[in-house]
């Protein structure tokens, strides 16, 4: 009897463990077209770390370089050739990649676009809510300058869907404040050096303005003010570590950081794995909502201080995880190790 019980217990244990032991492992391909930008580097690290942490990814093929849409088409086709089960990409264009994406879907590959959307049908989109991102920051800025004055509007890369969505959010906020107008509008291309030079050039013209809204190229804009000795105006940026620490340390700087976690890349890996396991979300588009941290109130400063991490790269967003989507720790993403 005892023996029977033992063997039953053993059988039960084996049964209970079976799904875990039989859990499939998958290979995932990653495609990204901006290299050397802190946000994108964090996105890649989040993808690597989440793939490792999930324990379900045996191979992660990363195509990560600076290129145009035609180059991303090439990378996507190479990933299809590599025989991956899913592709997680940050698309360089909403329309230009459809031919390769259709090839991938036809081959039975799960396609997840993170950060920005694509127009092809059948693609899962996991993105920060870019419209809301711009609206939150712009509304705070316009309120903070008293609903009156002119602002410098520093956009991202022309023609990308994230930039278009943010433009819609910015415009929505602008319409709510008839007293505010745009003094100068530029595209930084999300490049630190370019954005800084554009600000230095504009400061040199001497045209007065009351605030700056930047599409995430922020700490170098503060640097531009400090270096040229221009009086600081309120600046809105993203939650990049460098800018967030400036919000606490730079004398006279009033501003706000809107969260835009690059770790959304890790969430994209989680979504791809869910779909591969037959657990697809009902909606093809999943949006992550942003939060605003400002440094002019006590509560705001407390939130910023809590988010600080001295080990982070100054160009990385400080929100290194996406609650509910990523499972790794901050130390793990800083180590940036992919599946063994």
């Amino acid at each position: 009897m005892k023996r029977l019980m033992t063997s039953t217990a053993l059988a039960a244990m084996v049964m209970a463990m079976a799904p875990a032991a039989m859990a499939d492992t998958f290979s995932i391909g990653v495609s990204n077209t901006v290299q050397g930008n802190g946000w994108r580097e964090q996105m890649i690290c989040a993808m690597r770390t989440q793939a490792r942490d999930s324990g379900m990814v045996d191979r992660l093929v990363v195509a990560h370089r600076n290129t145009d849409a035609a180059g991303q088409l090439e990378d996507l086709r190479n990933l299809i050739e590599a025989g991956v089960d899913a592709i997680v990409l940050n698309p360089s264009s909403p329309d230009a990649l459809n031919s390769a994406i259709e090839d991938a879907l036809e081959a039975g590959i799960v396609v997840v676009a993170v950060d920005q959307g694509v127009s092809a049908d059948g693609v899962y989109i996991l993105s920060n809510n870019q419209e809301e991102y711009a609206y939150l920051g712009a509304r705070w800025l316009f309120e903070h300058i008293g609903g009156e004055g002119t602002v410098v509007y520093m956009r991202g890369a022309a023609g990308t869907s994230a930039d278009n969505d943010r433009h819609n959010g910015f415009t929505r906020a602008l319409e709510a404040f008839p007293g505010v107008s745009v003094a100068h509008e530029v595209h930084t291309g999300w490049q630190q050096d370019r954005g800084k030079q554009q600000m230095l050039d504009f400061l040199a013209t001497g045209i007065p303005f009351d605030g700056v809204w930047t599409s995430g190229i922020d700490n170098v804009i503060v640097d531009a003010f400090v270096e040229s000795g221009a009086p600081l105006v309120p600046i809105v940026g993203a939650d990049n570590a460098g800018f967030v620490s400036q919000l606490l340390s730079v004398e006279g700087l009033e501003g706000a950081a809107v969260t835009n976690p690059g770790s959304v890349g890790g969430a994209g890996i989680t979504l791809a794995l869910q779909v591969l396991q037959g657990d697809a979300p009902e909606d093809m588009t999943v949006l992550v909502d942003p939060v605003l941290w400002e440094n002019v109130t006590e509560e705001g400063r407390a939130m910023i201080e809590a988010a600080q991490n001295p080990n982070l790269d100054p160009d990385w967003p400080v929100s290194v995880t996406v609650p509910g989507w990523t499972t790794y720790t901050t130390e793990e993403i800083i180590a940036c190790e992919g599946p063994a």
């Binding site: 290299q35 992660l60 849409a69 035609a70 088409l73 090439e74 050739e81 025989g83 023609g159």
Partner: protein
């Protein structure tokens, strides 16, 4: 026969290298097959045209740094025109625009006597600005007939490869056999000697730059065909074209080299990129590997040629 072999020795060597690399790719990724070849042909398309454009001006003894920008101008021109008219007139106008831009580059060089590298560097920015003026952000459209041309197979050959070979050699083959072709080689080889032998050096150079512009127009069109839209910001085609030209056995400085070598060079560089992706090499290392392989091949090639000449 031996003469044909000897004059194309470099291209043949490269072709062998390409075959070896294709074999290696198959080893790394056993499923690499016809689909992979078709992808490779498509990916190589804009690079091949950029390289053809660069090869012509390098042979005439110059260099054109505005290749990528001219491609961008042509890509947005074509994408915008196709929102208004059929693809045939749109393509024709784009080719003329390319030809004209190239001719402007060449004329500026000949008339002002400013070095090629300086004029075309300046024109890089000019054409980049022109492209952004035509289309501020990626957009426009491409006719389905055009995008279909680069998809799938035509008999045993990937359509994209066939289209590229026809377009490149429809211009190059008659050119290299004409008086103008001879003048281009003569000018690139020794401008002074060419001039004294009665070659209209100035006109030859303008013509070579115009042909470079024409190839850039084809490159811009190929971008529209691949992506279905026009992109005003130039892609990574300038440096890649110089690399393929050098790899293809064209001597920087002019007068020596053909068109077949550089075109095969394009495929060699693309397949290396494919291999590195398939192997999952750290993306931050891939560009270093690509550069190192290029230097190694050119050095090895030069060494073999030198040895061959001695014996």
């Amino acid at each position: 026969m031996t003469r044909v072999l000897r004059s194309n020795l470099w291209a043949i060597g490269l072709a062998v290298l390409l075959l070896v690399l294709l074999g290696l790719t198959k080893l790394i990724q056993p499923s690499f097959g016809f689909n992979g070849l078709e992808s490779l042909a498509r990916a190589s398309l804009p690079f091949a045209f950029a390289t053809a454009a660069m090869a012509v001006v390098v042979i005439v003894g110059g260099i054109d740094l505005s290749v990528g920008s001219m491609m961008a101008v042509c890509s947005v021109t074509a994408a915008v025109l196709m929102t208004m008219m059929g693809w045939v007139p749109a393509v024709a106008i784009t080719l003329l625009v390319g030809l004209a831009m190239g001719a402007i580059n060449g004329s500026l060089i000949v008339v002002t006597r400013v070095p090629d590298i300086v004029v075309t560097l300046a024109m890089l920015f000019v054409w980049e600005g022109v492209a952004l003026l035509i289309l501020g952000s990626p957009g426009g459209t491409a006719d389905r007939a055009l995008t279909g041309m680069v998809r799938g197979w035509t008999g045993p050959v990937p359509s994209a490869l066939l289209l590229m070979l026809i377009c490149v050699f429809a211009v190059w083959w008659p050119l290299s056999r004409s008086k103008l072709g001879l003048s281009i080689y003569a000018t690139g080889s020794d401008e002074e000697a060419a001039f004294r032998s009665g070659v209209a050096v100035g006109r030859t150079r303008v013509a070579a730059y115009a042909i470079c512009g024409l190839y850039c127009a084809m490159g811009g069109l190929s971008l529209v065909m691949l992506t279905g839209i026009g992109e005003p910001v130039p892609g990574p085609y300038l440096m890649a074209s110089v690399a393929a030209v050098v790899l293809g056995g064209v001597v920087l400085g002019g007068g020596r080299g053909g068109m077949l070598g550089p075109i095969i060079g394009v495929f060699v560089l693309r397949i290396i990129r494919t291999m590195l992706t398939l192997m999952g090499v750290d993306p931050n290392v891939t560009t270093i590997v690509e550069g190192s392989i290029m230097v190694a091949v050119v050095m090895l090639g030069g060494f073999i040629m030198l040895r061959g000449r001695k014996t």
